[in-house]
Amino acid sequence: MTLVKVYVTYKKSILDPQGEAITNAIHGMGFQDVNEVRMGKYFEISVDESSNTLKEDIEKICDNLLANPNMETYRYEFVDSEAVQ
């Protein structure tokens, strides 16, 4: 079993209405030092067996489903790293 953690965030130039609303709320709570909040998605994917193509598979899943390359970027990491080579 391998655990893959994927982080998806909007590209810099993309509007992040959620992040903006959260920033305002944090200011409202009195934390003026907070400059900006950007909100993204976080996935924990557990994969049964480690195939040779795990890295490729994860990238395909990210490119086609978890992130839209037109507006988002992603990065991922394997937690059980010996599983991938």
Binding site: P17, Q18, A21, I22, A25, G28, M29, M39
Partner: protein, 225 residues
């Protein structure tokens, strides 16, 4: 009796709730902006449905920090009726006036439909005009209406008769099909279904009217005692 309808940025069922009081039960009602910090002069608080702050982050989360919130808590603590519908229910759980949380519907999809509800407790100020066990038709419209609480909380809600409405069918995955609960003192009610959309047969059901009549009647009874 004077009702306050709280208006958060993004509330979108506020006007209909206002009509429900003004035209439905013909009582005094006023819209109150979220920036106010007092509810002096009001006898009951209604928190409408909608998407406060876009429901960005988590439904009801950001509204939970609005200036009006302490005043709502004060009303609740003073035993005045506080009713949260849909997003209002979500806000009430976020600010801790009600137990549990509302998470995404089990099938991950928004649902809009008029559904049968069972009245589980007709001994509250909100439901005295209904009959215990009665089935009423009330519209739901939510994406995050799946009521969740842990087993201990559930046992407490049951023991204390805080579960007021349940869905007759499992529409969203809620624990025990819960559609609406009260606090321990039973003066705060949160429910996902929209009674304010069910005031006339013309739009599908008039079963919601009696909820507002209950609140009004109980208040008048108390005042006249």
């Amino acid at each position: 009796m004077k009702f306050a309808v709280i208006v958060f940025p993004g509330s979108n069922c506020d006007k209909v709730l206002y009509y429900a009081i003004k035209d439905g039960v013909k009582a005094d009602v006023e819209m109150v902006d979220f920036r106010n910090d007092s509810l002096a002069g009001f006898d009951a608080v209604l928190i409408p449905g909608g998407f406060s702050y876009g429901d960005y982050l988590r439904s009801g989360a950001i509204a939970g920090h609005a200036p009006i919130i302490p005043a709502i808590k004060e009303m609740a603590n003073a035993g005045k009726p506080v009713l949260g519908i849909c997003n209002g229910f979500q806000i009430l759980t976020e600010i801790g006036l009600l137990d549990g949380a509302l998470i995404r519907n089990k099938n991950n999809r928004f649902i809009c439909e008029t559904v049968p509800l069972k009245v589980e407790n007709d001994q509250t100020i909100f439901t005295s005009e209904y009959q215990q066990g009665e089935t009423i038709m009330i519209p739901v419209a939510h994406g995050e209406g799946n009521y969740y609480c842990d087993d201990k909380t559930l046992a407490r809600l049951k023991a204390n008769h805080q579960i007021v409405f349940t869905y007759e069918d499992d529409i969203n995955g809620s624990v025990d099909n819960i559609a609406g609960i009260t606090n321990e003192k039973k003066n705060v009610l949160g429910m996902m279904p929209h009674p304010e959309r069910a005031l006339e047969e013309l739009v599908g059901s008039a079963d919601g009217l009696r909820m507002f009549q209950s609140v009004l009647k109980n208040h008048m009874d108390r005042v006249n005692q």
